[in-house]
């Protein structure tokens, strides 16, 4: 299965690379750069939102089953951590999307900003648990790689959306 995932991700990256120049689609790595250009706006607003979120639970920012979890700053959908998966694994019987949207989230534990890939998990109908919609740095669908409204299961064999995971890619801007 892991082999298959790797192949899917590789295929997706190649696909993105082929098309980036022509139609301006910013994929996995293109989005990292785009995210970087947004950083000047982020510290103040992010700080404001983090404080607003605190009343919902002191440890919510560290709880993958909470919408306030720090890695979820641009997620939109059902949290796979509430659906039989974890913050970065899909529930049994579902398949991760090879294409993703990207966020840049601040980790309060080490003070760093991280690039996060939000993959959808696909192949079963809506999980329905832990609906979560956060939109830090999220953009409308014409900037697709930063958009969380599109069904990112669109390129899967089965494009049925089940839930979403957050996958840490690395420190932003490095």
């Amino acid at each position: 299965m892991q082999q298959r995932l790797d192949r899917l991700l590789e295929r997706a990256s190649r696909h993105v690379a082929q098309r980036t120049s022509r139609r301006g689609f910013l994929g996995l790595f293109g989005a990292a750069l785009t995210g970087a250009t947004l950083l000047p706006l982020l510290p103040v607003s992010r700080g404001g939102q983090a404080m607003a979120a605190e009343p919902t639970g002191a440890n919510a920012v560290d709880d993958p089953a909470s919408c306030d979890y720090w890695k979820y700053c641009a997620i939109d959908g059902f949290l796979c951590a509430c659906c039989g998966g974890t913050s970065s694994s899909c529930p049994p019987g579902t398949t991760p999307s090879p294409i993703t949207w990207i966020g840049t989230c601040h980790n309060p534990a080490d003070g760093r900003d991280y690039m996060v890939s939000y993959n959808d998990c696909c192949g079963k109908t809506s999980c329905g648990a832990c609906s979560c919609n956060r939109n830090e740095g999220e953009k409308p669908m014409y900037r697709l790689s930063l958009n969380n409204d599109a069904n990112w299961c669109m390129a899967n064999d089965n494009p049925n959306y089940h839930c979403s995971v957050s996958v840490l890619l690395g420190v932003a801007g490095q």
């Binding site: 999220e138 900037r143 697709l144």
Partner: protein, 386 residues
Amino acid sequence: MRIDSFIRLAVILLLAPVRIALAAPMSAPLPPDHLSIAQLPAPSPHWIYVYDEAFNNETDSRLNLYDGDAHRLLGQIDTGYYPGFSLSPDGHTMAVATTYWSRGGHGQHTDVIEFTDTRSLSITGEVVLAPTRTQGPPTFYNLSYSKDQRFIYSTNLTPAASMSVIDVAKKQVVADFDTDGCVQAYASLERRVSSICENGKLLSVTVDDTGHEIARDFSERFFDVDQDPVFIQAAPSTNGMVFVSFLGMVHAVDLKTAQPTFPTPWSLVNAAQRGHWRPGGTQMIALHKTLGTLYVTMHQGGEGSHKVGGSQIWVFDANTHRRIARWTIDLAKYGTAIAVQVSQDEKPLLFVSTETSTLLTLDGKTGRLLHAEAKMGQTPWYLINP
């Protein structure tokens, strides 16, 4: 049975003197009912299609047709999964582009446009598409009839963006063209369709009698994607479209001209409000085309809050750019306003759907709340005029 009737009568006499006094025991029995199928009444501008994404059961989305005067549902169009929809210019057909599976939510999937007669709510035909249809947020521009009703432009996203052209009479796909990463389908003139691009421009493609591209042009850049992007949830205007940005700038687009032109943008907010009061939700603006009244769901929030629904509806004269009114949503009762639509007649109703799945009907001129309909599905994210 006789004895039984006596017992029943005795019980009624003993226990329920009021009921028996009201009743006419010697009257003729009620005649049998006649089982039938209801017909839709004559169409009214005060009807509204409420799109329910049914987010917890997303393969079962639907359009609920609701009568804003009678305050009742008129019927339902099943819309499958992540649909696009477009009403034919003559108003008689609702085209729904959607995805179905051979086994509910698994097995083989098929993308299809289905045509529903808006006078009977029955499906009259379909066109099967390549399985590349855009599955994005509900807007009225994932799919679009050409203005002359001859074609339908159907957007694709794989994630490469393109458009398929469907011949309405032939009920078949007749052409496809790449859209250079631009999304949505805003129809104008007879045979032109525009899309919105990552570079802040519109791409406009004109097709010929066979549906094939004969011209394409990029407009000037009319907004800044990085600093203040516009929502794709635009409102149709007399001359084209109106977009609003995350920070509350109004970008009108004139599509009656040979190339799209852009009147000077104006702001919904003053300097003090800018960045603090923002439009937000799933359908944040509605425009009364002839009266020129613009309704916007507004909330207080910062960066990243652009999907938060409105705590207020701000009302503007789109011609003078002056704010006419601010109407407050009863958040405790209904939650925030996520979608807004206005009827296009002279006595407009403003429809507002909320995060608690309530559909509010307001007087479009005074803001007076006329009715609150609870339980309009799970997630009523978009509102469409008939």
